[in-house]
């Protein structure tokens, strides 16, 4: 019985061996649990390192921004999405392609402002918050603020300045999670901003 331990798996195919050229790297799926728990570990660590929730929110946003700046390239390379003609199209691409691709969920788009420059993404289940519960002393923590940073960073790289924030969060007792996105302006200057 004690012999089976180390044998028999050497010839196993390596699904995870991903060089840069793999066209399907972002289609490589993994169990969301590791992601969720790792994100939880990160937020917990930030809460330990910073004294107040505002600083944690800022830090999460900053990290998200860094992710977004890198993610957009990966996204454009793999999704075959061309230039969007208006903000409505952008909203569709974000919700139906980008969220689906990276987080495996499809938020719905609602609450367009009359001017067509503002909308809400409604997340029915946010993979970031599985298992999560906010303790009372962190009532101002925006747990999933990373997502805002990601959206902001990614859109900035395609010359769109947007304002992104959470307006409802299931963690705070709301029935849905809602991210509000507001188009501010086109960025004419094509110089990428520094990483920080």
């Amino acid at each position: 019985m004690s012999r089976q331990g180390g044998r028999g798996t050497e010839s196993k195919k390596m699904y995870w061996y991903l060089p840069f050229i793999s066209p399907s790297a972002s289609l490589q799926l993994m169990n969301s649990e590791l992601f969720t728990l790792t994100y939880g570990a990160l937020v917990t660590q930030l809460c330990k390192d910073y004294e107040n929730d505002d600083d944690v929110n800022k830090q999460l946003d900053k990290m998200g921004y860094n992710i977004g700046v890198r993610l957009i390239e990966d996204f454009l390379a793999r999704s075959n999405v061309g230039r969007c003609h208006d903000f409505r199209e952008t909203a569709d691409v974000i919700a139906k392609i980008a969220f689906k691709m990276y987080l495996g969920i499809t938020p719905s788009i609602t609450n367009w402002s009359p001017g067509g420059d503002e909308f809400s993404l409604i997340l029915e289940n946010n993979p970031l918050v599985d298992f999560v519960e906010l303790p009372d002393n962190h009532s101002t923590l925006i747990y999933s603020n990373l997502l805002c940073g990601v959206l902001r960073g990614a859109l900035e790289m395609v010359q769109m300045a947007v304002d992104v924030k959470f307006v409802q969060d299931t963690l705070k007792g709301d029935s849905v999670t809602e991210i509000r996105m507001k188009f501010i302006r086109r960025i004419e200057d094509n110089l990428p901003a520094g990483e920080e």
Partner: protein, 188 residues
């Protein structure tokens, strides 16, 4: 302290702890992990410290992953033998977290307390390129911390460290007491 406890009617507790149905892209994890490493890196002075920090974060993940997994995979049962727990780690735990089994499990020739979990390409290292000046850095320290937490929480306290050897090797060194207990259970 009170605030650490779950409030009475938390929706988290209402939900079934079934298999996680959602899957997400490896790229998303890779980007998150990279931020994690960078964040830790900014706050430490040496490679050893960085690895310790990653291990600490892994610890956090390991404890929670084990909890959910045991409830799901083997309700009402627990491993009592060293070999059993090692196979559990190599199989179900690795599959649940990383999508596949660990490549190899070996025991050291000269030490009955030491075991190795060997992976040619650990998931956490998939997109990590180690800078030349810090070539000893192995971000699988995260996985090592995770494994240490899992073994500790399963009742097999051990030290786990990550090394560059045949890809990445996680070295498990069990406490004396664990091996002694295992021997006394032998034959039962």
């Amino acid at each position: 302290m009170d605030s650490r406890f779950t409030r009475g009617k938390s929706p988290v507790l209402e939900r079934a702890l079934g298999r996680p149905r959602s899957e997400l892209s490896l790229a998303a994890f890779a980007l998150l992990f990279s931020e994690l490493v960078q964040y830790c890196q900014r706050r430490v002075a040496s490679v050893a410290e960085l690895q310790a920090r990653l291990a600490q974060l892994g610890h956090h993940v390991g404890l929670r992953a084990l909890d959910a997994l045991v409830a799901r995979e083997r309700p009402g049962r627990r491993e009592t033998k060293v070999l059993g727990v090692l196979l559990f780690v190599k199989g179900p735990l690795w599959r649940a977290l990383f999508g596949r089994e660990a490549d190899k499990l070996e025991q050291a020739n000269d030490d009955e307390r030491t075991f190795y979990v060997i992976e040619r390409e650990p998931v956490v290292n998939t997109f990590v390129s180690v800078p030349r000046e810090n070539s000893s850095l192995n971000c699988a320290a995260f996985a090592a911390g995770l494994l240490e937490a899992v073994l500790g929480a399963a009742g097999f306290p051990a030290r786990v460290s990550a090394h560059w050897h045949k890809g990445t090797t996680l070295m498990i060194k069990f406490d004396e007491a664990v091996i002694a207990r295992d021997k006394s259970l032998e034959g039962r």
